[in-house]
């Protein structure tokens, strides 16, 4: 039962190969075997969104995916957003300015959900954004500053 499977995928732009046990959840592989601890585990049944990463540019819940299923795909985690420690992504800058986080545990999930959404919907209004993030739970902020951060983030992302 512990036979491993060879997989290869891209993570934050870098190619990666591994041999993983089939039942290892993708979020556990990222956190424990790649030291990418920015993606968090909130529920392990696909509801809270804290584990959201991008697969081929689209947000997915890594707690209900198997690591073996990453084979052949391009993954992006929150660690792949900023260019460097002093050069955050405009969406991260927006969250900082608008106080879009408190404990920060759910935040990577929100960032990974919002980044592709705002890239595609630069003119999203408050209602659009609330729909877009309705699959991410936050217990600290009451969402208002997250929405403010998203609106600000869209502006920053599309500023020329």
């Amino acid at each position: 039962m512990t036979a491993t499977h060879a997989i290869s995928f891209t993570i934050n732009g870098q190619p990666h190969e591994a041999a993983v046990e089939p039942r290892l959840l993708l979020v556990d592989y990222l956190r424990q075997h790649m030291d990418l601890t920015g993606t968090h585990v909130g529920c392990e049944h696909g509801v809270c969104g804290a584990c959201t990463i991008l697969m081929d540019g689209k947000p997915v819940r890594s707690c209900i995916m198997l690591a073996v299923q990453a084979d052949g795909h391009e993954l992006t985690t929150v660690e792949g957003l900023a260019e460097g420690p002093d050069n955050m992504h405009p969406l991260q800058e927006a969250f900082w300015e608008a106080h879009g986080l408190q404990c920060g545990f759910c935040t990577p999930g929100f960032l990974m959900t919002l980044k592709p959404y705002l890239e595609e919907h630069p003119d999203a209004n408050e209602d659009d954004i609330r729909h877009a993030i309705s699959g991410n739970l936050c217990r600290c902020t009451g969402y208002q500053h997250i929405v403010d951060a998203a609106l600000l983030g869209a502006k920053k992302m599309h500023a020329k």
């Binding site: 969104g49 997915v60 707690c63 309705s134």
Partner: protein, 289 residues
């Protein structure tokens, strides 16, 4: 909450997948989107010994219009279906329904076939399939066959696939002319399983109803067609009074809801009554345009 151990296969072709299914039968559980299966495995309420991951089978993805029906490959993502112009044009009921399924992140992995084969009585797609008279193509290592929707759903979380079969394609027939449609559900929060939901179709002949379809979710073992309500509507004038009577029949005669933690059976019946009238009104509006 970690899954129990299992053997894993990721076949690269349908042929390979069917060979595995032939070899393992019911022990070989197909893995489609995994958005229902993997949570169940994390809770260990599902402990399949063998998983056959279908996600590499590109041949099972795709949407085509053919012979007056929309053919959707079983592994087509819900999100692809959501954004498909073909679906919007030729299966507007499906188009209206899909955004109600969970959240975008789930729809980025969940598949049309996976949801239908899982046959959760609270799911939206079985209801649409029944309303549109969908047909299901199943294949095993030797042959293929088509199942009618009436034969496909066989009970609580059950479908009539043989142990060596995989669902490969679903055909959604186009609606007849002069047909209006509506899908509506009432959920505690956007994206939750609904407390009640309905897919309604209304085909008009002048002001009379030539045919009506009312199919409900979460009120029985699978998608439930409101036979008496449909009968009451057939041939009737399409007006509020008829809708109210149909709603009454649907809510109190045609369904036998179990209730759940969010809704008692009585409240579900009440919602069915309200939804029926609202959905029929909307369908009428669309049929008249």
């Amino acid at each position: 909450m970690k899954p129990a151990p299992f053997e894993y296969h990721a076949p690269l072709s349908l042929e390979e997948a069917l060979a595995l299914k032939r070899e393992h039968g019911d022990d070989g559980k197909p893995l489609a989107g995994g958005q229902s299966l993997i949570p169940a495995m994390n809770f260990r309420v599902a402990q399949p010994s063998i998983l056959i991951d279908l996600n590499k089978l590109e041949e099972l993805r795709g949407i085509r219009k053919k012979n007056g029906a929309l053919h959707i490959g079983a592994m087509t993502l819900q999100s692809s279906t959501e954004h498909s112009d073909l679906v919007a044009q030729h299966a507007p009921l499906l188009h209206e329904t899909i955004p109600n399924i969970a959240h975008p992140q789930i729809r980025n992995r969940g598949t049309i076939g996976g949801s239908l084969a899982h046959a959760d009585p609270a799911a939206e797609l079985p209801v649409v399939a029944l309303a549109l008279g969908a047909r299901f193509r199943a294949q095993n290592a030797d042959a293929e066959r088509w199942l009618e929707v009436g034969d496909f759903f066989s009970g609580l979380f059950s479908v009539a696939l043989e142990p060596d079969e995989i669902l490969v394609e679903i055909a959604f027939p186009e609606m007849p002319a002069n047909t209006g449609w509506a899908f509506m559900e009432i959920a505690r929060r956007s994206g939750d399983y609904a407390m009640a939901g309905v897919a309604a179709l209304l085909t008009l002949n002048d002001e009379k109803i030539e045919a009506a379809k009312l199919v409900y979710l979460n009120v029985g073992d699978g998608p439930v067609e409101a036979m008496q309500a449909q009968q009451r509507l057939q041939g009737a004038t399409a007006d509020a009074a008829a809708f109210a009577e149909a709603a009454q029949l649907a809510a109190h005669e045609d369904i036998d809801p179990y209730g759940n933690v969010h809704a008692s059976p009585e409240y579900q019946r009440h919602l069915v009554s309200v939804l029926t009238q609202r959905a029929l009104t909307k369908a009428l509006e669309r049929a008249s345009n």
